[in-house]
Subunit: 185 residues, 2 copies
Amino acid sequence: TDEKKYGYANRGMTLEEDINETNAYYLAHRIAVIHKKPTPVQIVQVDYPHRSAAVIKEAYFKTPSTTDYNGVYKGRYIDFEAKETRNETSFPLKNIHEHQIRHIRDVIDCGGISFLIIRFAKSEEIFLLEGKYLLQFWDRMKAGGRKSIKKEEIAAFGHRIPLGIRPRIDYIRIIDSIYRDILCP
Amino acid sequence: TDEKKYGYANRGMTLEEDINETNAYYLAHRIAVIHKKPTPVQIVQVDYPHRSAAVIKEAYFKTPSTTDYNGVYKGRYIDFEAKETRNETSFPLKNIHEHQIRHIRDVIDCGGISFLIIRFAKSEEIFLLEGKYLLQFWDRMKAGGRKSIKKEEIAAFGHRIPLGIRPRIDYIRIIDSIYRDILCP
Ligand SMILES: [Mg+2]
Ligand SMILES: [Mg+2]
């Protein structure tokens, strides 16, 4: 239904908007430069009307091959995906694409800081879960285990991010505490 | 003319393709994870046909607010723009957008590694120029100076990248030599 569709869209926007606002705060205060990547689109047909802007007339959404956000904090590469779920007790791993997992592995292998920001929409709880733990839960699924991460597991292995005013979702504070030793001065 | 248009497109593709191939090499060899960002598009109208993929029916190209490529090498954030010119003696600064300059400043402020890869199409010479020098030439222009960077200046302040086979444009080798001291182990 349309209601369902809009529900989804709104939920998606909310976390994304909060994170975009947070990133704008970090940028304005010279704390970090983190941007959302543009939605990847396969362009099929473009019209070039006389004296006006080119119009894309046919294009398709492509499955993203990386994560949504990346950038720099204290010299280090930061890379994350933001996901919301209406599930109240666990985070279903079907929310993550196989090639995003591949990308997260690549980033970690090259010394990047990788994580997931997960919001439980109903309870409005937000967690940061490091990429290395996501990979462990993914591998558990691949080995025949559960297809989701329990909320208690996320709370145990991850870090709760309190919702703030400015910035709204202060994930850099968490990164600062976890990675204190490797951040460049 | 169409010839001119295709000429442009090809030239654009060539450097981009060479860099994409280079990045694929780095990724396959676990050297670095660098991706080209998707072209930013403003989506206006989307059709959802029954039982088939959503079709974007109206969209426009947006001016990019950041650079084309970013990623991670030895834990550090890497950020660059790739540009070609048919000019034989200098690189016109009109090839760079004001907000890309803003972005380059932001990245440098946060400890990221920022640079430009410039190809002189006629002579097929390729240079890496660090962001900090680009900013100096930009500021010179803003102060009323020349609106381009002379090729000799690029050769003097930058680093020539020899065209190779695998990888084609080995810019990481240059980064390795310039930033040896700050790269994470
Ligand atoms: Mg996403
Ligand atoms: Mg470009």
